[in-house]
Amino acid sequence: MTSIKITILELGNWFLQPLWHSRWIILPVITSICVMAMLIGAVIAAPREIIEGDVQRLMYIHVPSAIISYLAFGITAVASAILLINGKLYWDAIARASAGIGLLLTFFALSTGAIWGKPIWGIYWTWDARLTTTLVLFLIYSSYLLVRNLGNANDTRAARYAAIVGLIGYLDIPLIHFSVDWWRTLHPQRIVFDIRPSLPTEMLIVLGIAFLAVLSLVLWLILLSATTEYLHQQVGKLSGDLDQMES
């Protein structure tokens, strides 16, 4: 059992360490290239959709943001679980950073969805399962950050409380999605964002680039933010040590 644990830890380190060290140079470079490619692709290179027109280009922000937000909150959930198990505070730094980015992405998904929906379907919002789940996620992880910010960077108690909220919230997602979906079938509404005939290849390529761009952007920002939180923890600790030395 312990040998399995050690192997998993070693594999994790082998993968995660280079990622952590790459945050200063490699990741920013990749991110800028990908984001520029995404912009050129989304605004210029991608073909104009016949029915919906240029607003459809918002898909290249909306879809990757929505999907990668689930990834970001997943990172928060996993980091929270690890924090609850071994108590090491740098997992709290990663969880917080990830939750902040996840909130940003959900904000993008919801607002671009509303802006896209208005000219095409005439409505800003619909109670469809995916949108509603995204909004509930936004609420859950806002409360996560609220709880976490009750204490400072080194407050293990606030970190633990927040970790529990972060973990339960993520495990709740399938339940929220199913219940809202079933609820919606009781009141059939206009089906929006659902009818998506298979996209032409050029659009798929640009969508793929957009995914890469948002993914690298998110990873980079998470690492930067986590480093800042970690540094705050270290500074807090040093301050405490100095207090002891002075007295």
């Binding site: 009750l150 633990r160 529990i164 909220v165 339960i168 495990l171 339940l175 199913f178 079933w182 009781l186």
Partner: protein
């Protein structure tokens, strides 16, 4: 097992001596029903359709107050630290609190149900309805007990608890309302809402048992 009874007896005694806790929760739910009656004009329109929603929102809001009581009083008097340091296991404490909250909330719910039957001329005391309410309450009370165990600063507690608990409880609300509608034969839904309610309650119950010891570590 004996430890659970110790915690349970202590909490029930405190709740009985100081009746403001669950009494204020019941009065709050009555006020809520009045507010709904005025806001949604229930004297005129067909109030049956809105009844499950009224019931479940009242349960949720008063339930949050009830589950908050025991831990708030403990952290105020400082007995929470004593309880953590005692040899009683965290899980026993959880079960003790859980059963106390369950009993308190069930009493309040029963009174609400009786009141609802009188005010809305709908028989809410059917066995199917009570089953739905009981199933949902198990999941609700376990999650609320877990999340109330956090030691917040007093001024944030009242606002923060609903903000944290309510989004997580959305599937419970949906399932409870729909299952109650089916049980009251207000609507005919084919989806297995009762099963979903049971699954959610089981999920909430198991999760709370697992995570409760991690809330207040020594």
């Amino acid at each position: 097992m004996r430890n659970i009874f110790i915690v349970l007896k202590k909490d029930l005694q405190i709740a009985w001596r100081d009746k403001t806790g669950w009494l204020s929760s019941f009065i709050f739910s009555v006020i809520l029903i009045f507010i709904y009656a005025f806001a949604f004009d229930l004297a005129k329109t067909n109030s049956e359709l809105l009844l499950p929603g009224i019931l479940w929102t009242t349960f949720l809001f008063s339930g949050i107050i009830v589950c908050n009581q025991s831990f708030q009083q403990e952290s105020a008097t400082g007995t929470l630290d004593a309880m953590i340091a005692s040899p009683i296991s965290q899980t026993s404490i959880f079960f003790g609190k859980f059963f106390c909250n369950l009993i308190s909330l069930s009493i309040v719910q029963f009174m609400i149900v009786v009141l609802g039957t009188i005010m809305f001329q709908v028989n809410l005391l059917k066995i199917e309805v009570i089953l739905v309410i009981f199933l949902g309450t198990i999941g609700f009370v376990s999650l609320a007990t877990l999340l109330s165990a956090f030691e917040y600063r007093e001024r944030f507690r009242a606002v923060l608890l609903p903000v944290i608990e309510l989004p997580i409880l959305i599937p419970l609300l949906l399932a409870g309302v729909q299952a109650s509608s089916s049980a009251l034969e207000i609507s005919n839904t084919s989806s297995p809402w009762l099963i979903f309610l049971a699954i959610f309650s089981l999920w909430g119950f198991l999760g709370s048992i697992l995570l409760f010891p991690l809330v207040n570590e020594k």
